[in-house]
Point group: C3
Chain length 305, copies 3
């Protein structure tokens, strides 16, 4: 991607390291701006959201980002109460929405949906999660959090634990991390390892280990990124119960972590991290969520200019 | 209607030709205005929407219109998550909403609902679709599109094809067209002809033919207005399949159309128009949808002044 | 409560008489302000709403209040389309929302939910109805209406009729009234009397009678506050039908009321008050609803400062 202006955010893979650094800079700039100055950035601009899958967090963080910039947002929070029910195609919905707004945020269950939407839209499309692999704005938020909290991303030991197979967040984060010189440790039960079809061109750019045992790495990690393990992903309940217990991050696990390491989670959390860990020094997941407001404001600011 | 200020938009039948022309002028004015100027029109004003039937397009176009004018909109997008479920009457809901906002957009399945709402509301009511006949803001958008794209409405040959019996859009458009000197050709299967009870006082002001055969007229049309044919309207599936095929507008049909004719559709489209037609010169339905943002902004601007 | 700035509104019991009077003053101030002046109060500020129970009226009145002050609101109108479905805790939802907005409005079925939310939120929490007892902003709106319409609250005879057992509105109103020197008459069927567990520390500050017979008091009342009687609260339908009829306020009942008395209802109304009463001098429930916009604007204005 050459420049952001009036462009789309479809995949984290489209963003070079320079693109990412530009977003981080813009994020810092927005955080430091005076409120009155920020409100001028998208004044009179509109953001349309089209959520074909439920997602509170992502929608609200985009709405808060747009409000921060002085703009307005509206759309479809839940595709069940929409014309989509009348059988309208995604292409038509997007095309019409692009006549109503200055940019569109799209969440859709299908791989490629955002790319497809961008082809028919006359306004920038921002992928707010599609299919099994893509959630670029989440990855940007995650990378920004690491950089902001640890000063830099290069040279860090990053553990990612939990369900690595089904979470689109993990794939986007890995592709994002492949721009940096990091050591990644993937920790999951055998049945929830990352899919090779989604990572085959990742290996040349990113060095990572795979393991079932968090204890091997915990003491050396700078970042521990925890993901949700969903019961419905398991073939039988017995295996779920076994696995679930082994990846719950409690205070005992945090105690093994370095003093200046950080614990992240894309949220929502069910019980992968005990709530008694929330007050620990390492717990940064709520901060990470709040950074999402500013990274999304930065993205909107770059696209709408 | 004498003037728009603080008045209601209940039926296209309440609007004289002068009223319509005033809306077209205001629409042109708003399109040409600078963004900063537009944003002053409804600054600090609020639009409440009450949708008792699902409708994405109409709601979003009103929200985009209100945002364009610098105002705020909020309301009930889906009456199932509202006090209506607690058994509240439409009158009470409207009365309370009129205490919260500067104007109300109402969609409701009952004929007469908007008229009734206007009687109890202390603020202007805009009918966003009621019962079987009324959808005045859609008709205004359709008329504006014809005028904008063809220069004038008078003297044009206008074909309307599809389900003419059940679509409220068609009736409102016909009443709107009755202000002009046009030739209308209604083309539908026998079972989906327009209802005589909804058109009995139309015939004196509008000359139209009825036919099952689009081919008779296609070469002479200036406007071909296509409507959705809904499967559930047919007594048996066999008839549906037969009819459906015969009114699908493909490139072969468009090829017969005049070079400077236009193809319209109120949308959402299912498959009445093939997507390969989208790129044809005649296809103006997405443009028509976008004009709806500006015609609604014009209406809001006139009512709120 | 010492002062409102950045504080929470959890329970009407936390508010002293001085606090209440400060809200009334602020409400009057906001009503009298010029629109341009009002719009500066929350300019660039955001209100997040989290509704875990449906409530149109309360949500819309907060949205209209925020718009009046020039601010933006967004959130979850209906918890079924949210991450809550993914099993997220209330604490996490609130914590994240507090990173996105400047204040949070919460409606939740559990007693204590707002207090709990306030403990984890970094921004002010406003209880928009919780559990069986608390609906402080409704009580403030009710008290303000009495004061505004009758000049003062002290010395007034206030009848409250209907379902006094299950309505959270009644308990909050009673606690609010306990700041004033009033005579309260509670009128309900035996099975819908107020719960003693919710009022045991009310009696020292508020004098009230309990009766089944509205006729005993009707002529002396300054305020008649009517609540909804819900069918589903009754053990058998026969009792419901019997009770329902006896508390419907028709014109015959209003005729017995003093000329300068007022008839209130928190709304939505089903049929506890006949619609022919709406035009009577005493009927102030729609006015009461509209005051809610201004009292909520006053509350927001005080909290956000």
């Amino acid at each position: 991607m050459k420049n952001f202006s009036q462009n789309d955010i479809i995949s984290i893979r489209d963003l070079s390291k320079d693109n990412l650094e530009e977003i981080y800079s813009k994020t810092n700039e927005i955080i430091e701006m005076k409120a009155e100055e920020r409100r001028e950035i998208a004044r009179g601009k509109t953001l349309g959201y089209l959520f074909f899958e439920p997602s509170t967090r992502t929608r609200l963080s985009f709405q808060s980002a747009m409000a921060l910039l002085g703009g307005t947002s509206f759309g479809i929070a839940d595709a069940t109460s929409s014309s989509v029910q009348k059988g309208e195609s995604l292409a038509d919905t997007v095309r019409i929405m692009s006549g109503y707004t200055d940019a569109i945020v799209l969440r859709h269950s299908l791989d490629g949906s955002s790319k497809f939407a961008a082809e028919v839209s006359s306004k920038p499309i921002i992928n707010a999660g599609s299919g099994t692999e893509e959630h670029p704005t989440q990855a940007i938020q995650d990378l920004y959090t690491i950089k902001k909290e640890l000063g830099k991303i290069d040279g860090k030991n990053i553990g990612i634990v939990g369900d690595l197979k089904y979470g689109r967040t993990v794939y986007s984060l890995l592709y994002g991390l492949s721009n940096y010189d990091v050591n990644v440790h993937l920790i999951s039960p055998e049945s929830l390892k990352i899919r090779s079809d989604s990572t085959y061109n990742l290996k040349e750019n990113l060095s990572y280990t795979e393991s079932e045992n968090l204890d091997e790495y915990i003491e050396d990690l700078d970042v521990l990124y925890v993901t949700r393990i969903q019961k419905e992903r398991f073939p039988d309940e017995e295996e779920y119960v076994k696995v679930k217990g082994s990846y719950v991050i409690g205070q005992d696990v945090v105690n093994k972590m370095k003093d200046d390491s950080i614990l992240l989670h894309p949220l929502p959390r069910i019980d992968e991290i005990s709530t008694d860990v929330d007050s620990s020094k390492q717990a940064k997941y709520f901060q990470q969520a709040e950074y999402g407001k500013f990274t999304r404001a930065a993205i909107l600011s770059l696209l709408l200019q």
